[in-house]
């Protein structure tokens, strides 16, 4: 940059010098003409007035021409010096611009005492430096805040995922095969599932908070917590749902709601009791469970629910999911849908393998489309039932 500007400066100076040289040539031309005029006069004077007069005229002509030439030389020199002095600050500006480009926004600018274009250039340059410094500072602060948020979100994500129960693997001692998977669309999400065994029964739930991201994650944590507390003391699925709904409806000014399905399975008999608060109906052996949906949690404090019951035969899979599965979308907005869901259920798979198969099917279906909603699946089987006696 510096070299380029210097080159312009040099060429500017050269061009001006050339122009001055041209003027000088013109002046010499004029002088020659004037000289010629005097020579003619001299010749005429010799013819008419005598040699002495002629000599006087010649001297005068030479003196005049010399003064003329000298003046031009002095003018050229002064002009050149003035131009050099005027554009000298450009060098400092160029160096300052290079400094700024390297990140030093405090680069020193030349002192300008005149009140001309250079002065205005200095003012503009100085304003640019200040404005850049201010923007850099703001950007730094925004980046710091963003970094902090990202860090916190990452911790929140780990915390949210660690709230979820670990899988029950089918072992010789285990009566249950349970596997769940939760993939938030963003760092954190509003889907949930939980399960635990109490008094020989499996209590489980799946839910979907309306919305996504941090607001949904707060409600997800609250719902998980309520389920753990309420279901630790109450066996009746209708009561569990009703109590959680009352708690969630209290002060729900933002009207965030949770679709929720709760079930209690007795693995010693295969008897399942369930209650549905507006959640997608689970599948039993590839058939939708007739779980009549009541209002989602948080909508209406006095909502009433209807419990249902059925028998789950040994080896039959209960497959629960959130609408992030059936509504997984391709870039053309085609949805995965119930038919593909049913088509990818395979009765001989264990729970983990079944969920992995479904996850793969969804990935294959949506392709490169970004995940639009939280995706959660929970599969339960008690094929590995082993009675103690």
């Amino acid at each position: 940059m510096t070299r380029r500007l210097l080159h312009i400066r040099e060429s500017l100076a050269s061009r001006i010098t050339l122009r001055v040289v041209l003027y000088v040539v013109v002046v010499i031309g004029i002088s020659a003409y004037v000289g010629n005029y005097y020579v003619l006069k001299i010749v005429k004077a010799i013819q008419e007035g005598g040699i002495l007069y002629a000599i006087g005229m010649r001297r005068m002509a030479i003196a005049l021409t010399a003064v003329f030439l000298l003046t031009m030389v002095v003018l050229t020199y002064l002009l050149r010096r003035t131009i050099h002095r005027l554009i000298a600050p450009l060098t400092t500006f160029t160096q300052a611009a290079d400094e700024v480009a390297r990140g030093n926004l405090q680069a020193k600018l030349p002192e300008i005492h005149s009140n001309d274009e250079m002065y205005y250039l200095r003012q503009s340059f100085s304003t640019m430096q200040q404005s850049l410094a201010q923007q850099m500072e703001e950007l730094k602060q925004v980046n710091e805040a963003k970094g902090r948020m990202e860090g916190e979100l990452k911790v929140a994500r780990d915390m949210q995922l660690s709230m979820l129960p670990k899988a029950y693997s089918p072992t010789a001692d285990s009566r249950l095969d349970i596997y769940g998977s939760l993939t938030p669309a963003r760092e954190v999400g509003g889907d949930l599932y939980d399960f635990f065994v109490r008094d020989g029964k499996l209590f489980f739930c799946i839910g979907d908070v309306s919305g996504k991201g941090v607001p949904a994650a707060l409600v997800m944590a609250q719902t998980m917590c309520q389920f753990r507390i309420v279901a630790s003391y109450i066996d009746d699925v209708n009561m569990i749902t009703t109590y959680i709904n009352k708690i969630m409806s209290d002060g729900n000014d933002t009207m965030v709601f949770v679709t929720f399905f709760v079930g209690v399975l007795d693995p010693s008999t295969g008897h399942l009791e369930y209650c549905n608060a507006g959640h997608n109906k689970p599948l039993v052996n590839g058939q939708f469970l007739d779980a009549k949906p009541g209002l989602p949690l948080g909508v209406e404090e006095n909502a009433t629910y209807e419990a249902g019951e059925c028998e789950i035969p040994v080896g039959t899979m209960l497959f629960l999911y959130t609408d992030g599965l059936t509504e997984a979308m391709t870039e053309k907005h085609d949805m995965f849908g119930s038919q593909r869901l049913i088509g990818n259920l395979q009765s001989d798979l264990d729970c983990k393998a079944q969920i992995e198969r479904m996850t793969q099917a969804v990935h294959d279906f949506v392709g490169d489309a970004p995940q639009s909603d939280d995706l959660t699946m929970l599969a339960i089987k008690y094929a590995y039932l082993k009675f103690d006696n």
Binding site: V256, T259, P296, E300
Partner: protein
């Protein structure tokens, strides 16, 4: 008490929920009940349902009403699955 109609687009989801919510809120704040014309609407996400719910609650606190109009089969299906059957008033 007057009613004013708010016409919804093809989808009610997280992309336009704020705009719709503000639109309905503006009607209710004028002291009018709102008719939500959902004839064109084919998809309502959970965030969209929350808007309808919010509208109904807000109307109730002002002694006003929210009516749904022209709800088609796809949206009705979403309402049924999520337990909102019979929760809203229709015209």
């Amino acid at each position: 008490m007057d009613t004013e109609t708010y016409v919804l687009g093809e989808e009610l989801d997280s992309f336009n929920h704020q705009e719709v919510q503000e639109g309905i809120k503006a009607i209710l704040e004028k002291g009018n009940s709102a008719v939500l014309d959902m004839t064109a609407c084919k998809y309502v996400s959970s965030t969209g349902l929350r808007v309808l719910l919010f509208a109904k609650k807000m109307a109730a606190t002002k002694g006003l009403k929210i009516y749904l109009k022209g709800v088609n089969a796809e949206v009705q299906d979403i309402m049924s699955v999520t337990g909102f059957d019979g929760f809203f008033d229709y015209v």
